[in-house]
Assembly symmetry: C2
């Protein structure tokens, strides 16, 4: 089959790889209909995250089950399914507690020896714990299908940030980061009842989507000026719930700066850099909490799926460029150049 | 009157200072019966926290109201009262939300221009927001009175850590720090229903108190060895709720290391050092939350007071040395030498 392979920074190729086969009785083979490129894929692309030459790439996909191992009972050939960005056994302590990202048998698509989402098919370990069945009718609705694909990562990750930030009905929320995750954070905050949502961002295409998703205010400033602008909007107090969807020291500093005393930062931006950006003395004096991390999106799908199916939320506008599998390298280029927000890959 | 005054590191003297008087209509004058020395007072004593020569010191006290300003309605002359370590107006947004440590009119005893707890009397600003009335009968019970004094700081701070750590009935809790706050963290965790409480400490006098307070296990190791020991006790997983009551980078590293995936660190150790001890990449991957800060003890007194009065909890064993006011300098010396855990000052 054809799949995207990363050979070196800036060197992603779509090439022939072995067809996946059922190796263990809990495996399923999924024929990919849609996948996409994540902001975190760009780190591998840019060489900021190490990869062995020849690793697969892509961790968000949705498709049709082609074959299942002897022990799989939850899905069957022909089912439309979405996969979260981590596979998990569904039965260990962590999975049953809602933290499948800490599953003792879990793993990431594209890790050495595993398939990636950006390819024609994927071998899915622990299919019963990992895959979530979708209504077959969705397969014929392109817009809906792309919305459902966000359940594999960005929507659930934005939701995790909103939960970590403690968003409640009536909350004032500030969102640091105008990428797809930050935008999904806006959508998730709105869904959880936030009254006021301040989106920090300077790219109008993105902040326009933020407004569509529920942002009531946009702050284009950065750093200290952004902190001042958010405080200006909040009677000097800051936002009780802050979503941090970037992961740099600067963005974390901004998040701390715009948080209201007693508030919480829900952080889902994968940490970059050697420092943290956290001024613990400030956080201590002001009782600012930090909650978040790699999002256990598998646990959130049952809650979010009905709202996506019913159109209560529509995250599909985060995709602003669609390419076919062979054009995946051009998709990376477009995201790296910031000419695309998030690239959808249609097989 | 006589009061403790800090002139320089290691130079605390008890000397004559002006008698406090009502300056504003919300003030009260409290004649101090009991005060004590806090681990955080030692930082000023050691020169780790800057003080202007001549500042008062001490932020934990309990006494009898001597006089009140014209606007004070909640307490009256003759009332036995306890003061939290921060005064607060009781009416601002933060006070009404339970975060009096962020009160816009709040302040710390012993800050420049204010009285300290280690003295014969204290002018209390915002007396109605700050002071909490105690039953008069408690004044004749020395043990109970010392237990009630812990409401001014260490008991409420230990409780804040336990709340931040997310202690619930059945929780496994680990406590980093065997000082008075760490020990009160053990007591608070037990009170909140923790099933297993692992106290980290190597001073048997202290770990014996921890056991009295509810610790089920004691780990004497430090650093990596402590992490290994706690994991050994918890099927390799760590503790869901970790109380961090030291504030050094090393103690925070230990706290992160012993936290279970998806768990929370309730931190109340005032941060020392230029770094944080937080490995954000580890916290991110394992979804470890950080919640805490300067404890809003005023808000916790209504919840904790009945249990202290009823003897459901007895924090008084944290005091292992009693001195009179004139001997306060010797009390600092004893705590600095670690020959005393926490020094009670009886006027």
């Amino acid at each position: 089959m054809r799949a995207a392979v990363i050979h070196a920074p800036k060197d992603i190729r779509v090439e022939e790889v072995p067809d996946p086969v059922v190796q263990r009785p809990g495996d399923a083979i999924v024929r990919v209909l849609l996948s996409c490129i994540c902001g975190s894929d760009l780190w591998a692309y840019r060489g900021d995250s190490a990869r062995e030459p020849g690793q697969r790439i892509g961790h968000e996909f949705l498709g049709v089950v082609e074959e299942v191992g002897a022990e799989v009972t939850g899905v069957t050939a022909g089912d439309l399914v979405v996969a979260p960005f981590v596979w998990s056994d569904g039965v260990c302590d962590y999975c049953t507690e809602g933290l499948p990202t800490s599953c003792e048998h879990g793993g990431f698509w594209g890790s050495v020896g595993s398939d990636g989402g950006q390819g024609e098919a994927v071998r899915v370990p622990y299919a019963d714990g990992t895959l979530v069945k979708l209504p077959a009718a969705a397969a014929s609705d392109e817009r809906l299908l792309s919305a459902l694909l966000t359940l594999s990562d960005v929507l659930g990750t934005g939701h995790h940030a909103a939960v970590g930030a403690g968003v409640r009905p009536g909350s004032t929320v500030a969102v640091v980061g105008d990428g797809a995750v930050g935008l999904c954070g806006v959508l998730a905050a709105k869904r959880l009842g936030a009254e006021r949502i301040i989106a920090l961002g300077r790219h109008q295409v993105r902040t326009d989507i933020a407004r569509t998703f529920g942002a009531t205010d946009v702050v284009a400033e950065r750093g200290e000026a952004a902190v001042a602008a958010v405080r200006e909007l909040t009677r000097g107090q800051g936002a009780h719930a802050v979503i941090e969807a970037v992961g740099t020291e600067e963005s974390m500093r901004t998040a701390v700066g715009i948080a209201r005393d007693g508030g919480s930062i829900g952080y889902v931006g994968v940490p970059h850099g050697s420092g943290t950006g956290l001024d613990l003395a400030v956080m201590f004096g002001r009782n600012i909490a930090l909650r978040g991390g790699v999002a256990p999106v598998r646990s959130y799908i049952p809650e979010l799926l009905p709202d996506v199916l019913d159109g209560v939320i529509d995250p599909s506008p985060v995709f602003d460029l669609t390419v076919d599998l062979e054009a995946v390298p051009a998709g990376y280029q477009a995201m790296d150049d910031r000419t695309a927000l998030k690239v959808l890959v249609g097989n």
